[in-house]
Amino acid sequence: MGKYLNIDTRIFSIFGSDAWLSESVKTYPCNFIKLDSTVPYIRISIIPSGIGVNKNSVSGVLIADIFIPNGSGPKAASTIADKLDTHLINKTFEIAEGVSTQFFNSTHSLVGTDVDNSALYRTTYTIPFNYNEV
């Protein structure tokens, strides 16, 4: 398995874990057609676009777009961002011996009314990571 698929697989498994599922936050990947109307929900995008320490390594950011009902205040988004922190911040996930994904500190920014659905308000949770393979 190559580094990009390794990153997707390992990070996605966090959101498929019982620990994350118990948080009851509907979670979808990017490039996915969501047909149910559950709100709030988050959309995960993994962007491994940074330089790594060697040819098998790469750095990047995980972006979670958080969608909450418009007009409901920021608390629901902050609650979800805190839940994401609980599962990600400063965590290192071993994939195999010498292969790991390490997360750092996060940021959370308020974007505003969603351009595609004005019933939703969108915030963006961002956390950088390093994928290292020696």
């Binding site: 996605f12 979808y28 057609i33 047909l35």
Partner: protein, 122 residues
């Protein structure tokens, strides 16, 4: 007969009156989708095929498009209900994907449909 039924009846009549300008299409809609984060696999379930008539009201070909064909399709809302991005339409033997919704009311729905094809006369 109420006004809504009356209008829908006339919409049906209009689609019949335009004769071969209306094509019989088969619409397949996604009704639920899911994504398994442990396997990375997206899955969906689809409705039974909806067979109805539709009128191609516009054919678009933009200079920036090298191999994508677009058409605007007018459908009977009563027959198709809500349509969503990536629902499928079989039109004249080819499969098209539903794109952006252009217009809808209780009676007619106009959507853009598109498909990849390098060489085809439209």
């Amino acid at each position: 007969m109420g006004y809504k039924a009356l209008v829908n009846s006339n919409v049906n009549k209009a689609f019949d009156l335009v004769k071969d300008l209306a094509d019989v299409i088969t619409l397949t809609k996604k009704v639920s989708t899911s994504f398994d984060f442990n396997t990375g696999i997206a899955s969906s379930t689809e409705t039974a095929a909806i067979v109805t008539k539709a009128v191609v009201v516009e054919v678009n070909k933009k200079s920036k498009d090298r191999n994508t064909l677009y058409k605007n399709l007018m459908l009977k809302t009563l027959d198709v209900g809500d349509v969503a991005n990536l629902d499928k339409v079989s039109l004249l033997g080819a499969e098209w994907k539903i794109g952006p919704l252009i217009f809808t009311n209780n009676y007619v729905t106009i959507v853009e449909i598109y498909r990849e094809n390098l060489w085809e006369s439209i």
